[in-house]
Subunit: 213 residues, 2 copies
DNA sequence: CTATGTGAACAGCTTCACAGCG
DNA sequence: CGCTGTGAAGCTGTTCACATAG
């Protein structure tokens, strides 16, 4: 029954991909999908797909496959995105603004409820978010986190400011940080960090492209 | 001697992280660093660090450690970023513009040489890049790729246009695609793809935060 | 007959522990 | 003696193959 046993990290990652694909199937009104089809659409084996879902329970129907809407619902529940959750953003530079404008977050159940920046010149400026957000000073983060029950934050500041901001976020009560700064953040065990380093991805490609010559 | 044996994918990923960290050490004028120190700064074991470098050759000095500038040079060579390489960008929306403004690419040896968009209304507009780039129609991609010897492209268009753009990039001669669209791209074996799905990362965090309650 | 769920076999990555070099 | 490079051991995740359900 989906206990919190030892679930491989890669399996959780794939859960998100399954969800994306399942939503595509639903958009075409597919009622059911087999592990083979779902896997093929993502370049994975059918066994992989079945095992991944099996970590969390028995969602399939032998001889039929998986019912698309049901599975979407279950996966959302597992990921904790079945209910909309509030997030905050720190860093209103180019990347921060782009992330605010990105519609994908809202579609997946994340709503940016507040924007912070260290630059005094930016405080008070309005940015295009849900209902026009005003950039606030970092000092007001704690209060906002409490009021809006925010648990996750997006960190989009330069590398040299990142650790200080992460500390502030932790102190404010944030429990998960999506980090875009190219630095290793040191945080306590109560905080989870997921890092996206754009240069690292390009270097990965560079290696692959170079290696295949 | 650094042949193209069977190198674990995770090892290549970490190479980028080592590089980032090594540059931080160099900035503080550290001459040498031990596998233990380098590992600790990234939350990895010393054995892991040594093994990773060993896949590519013998870069260390027993009793001393690794010489920082030398190792930086070697890692860059391995990743293929020891010489600046030209890249292109498709999609001049919010995310595309933010990526253009991001200084990290240039610092790591990648130079955006051209910007393309499918929207006729955007063609001809100037965007803030290295020396002010003009947005071009996708039809001119092939010519530009040839002229500037571009091999890698950044794809930052909406999901429903992504596959078509990827096909166009492939046809134009691109060999590596950094994909920001939330879709699985189908490409031939001559093209490498690295995908960044922002929503997936947030969902990862959501799961971790939810699980630790 | 189709497609799931799962123990068992397998593969790949990481850690260990130590020989060897400066 | 400090620290690397590396076979061997250990562990984690993936694939296989089949019993089982509809």
């Amino acid at each position: 029954m989906g206990r919190a046993e030892h679930i491989p990290v890669p399996a959780v990652k794939r859960l998100s991909l399954y969800l994306r694909q399942l939503e595509a199937f639903r958009a075409v009104d597919r009622k059911t999908v087999s592990s083979r089809e779902l896997g093929a659409s993502l370049g994975l084996s059918d066994a992989q797909v079945r095992k991944d879902f099996a970590y969390f329970g028995q969602f399939g129907h032998p001889g039929i496959g998986y019912r698309v809407p049901e599975l979407i619902q279950r996966v959302r529940q597992i990921l904790g995105t079945d209910k909309t959750s509030n997030v905050l953003l720190v860093g209103a530079g180019n990347l921060g603004r782009a992330l605010l404008a990105y519609r994908g977050f809202t579609r997946r159940g994340f709503q940016v409820k507040a924007v912070f920046d260290a630059d005094p010149g930016k405080i008070g400026q309005s940015v295009a978010g849900d209902g026009g957000l005003i950039i606030q000073p970092v000092s007001e983060m704690r209060e906002k986190v409490r009021k809006e029950s925010i648990r996750t934050g997006i960190l989009a500041v330069p590398a040299d400011a990142a650790q200080a901001v992460a500390d502030a976020m932790t102190a404010a009560g944030i429990r998960g940080i999506l980090n875009f700064a190219p630095t290793m953040l040191r945080v306590g065990p109560e905080v989870s960090v997921s890092s996206v380093d754009l240069a690292v991805h390009l270097e990965q490609l560079s290696f692959q492209v170079g290696a295949s010559m």
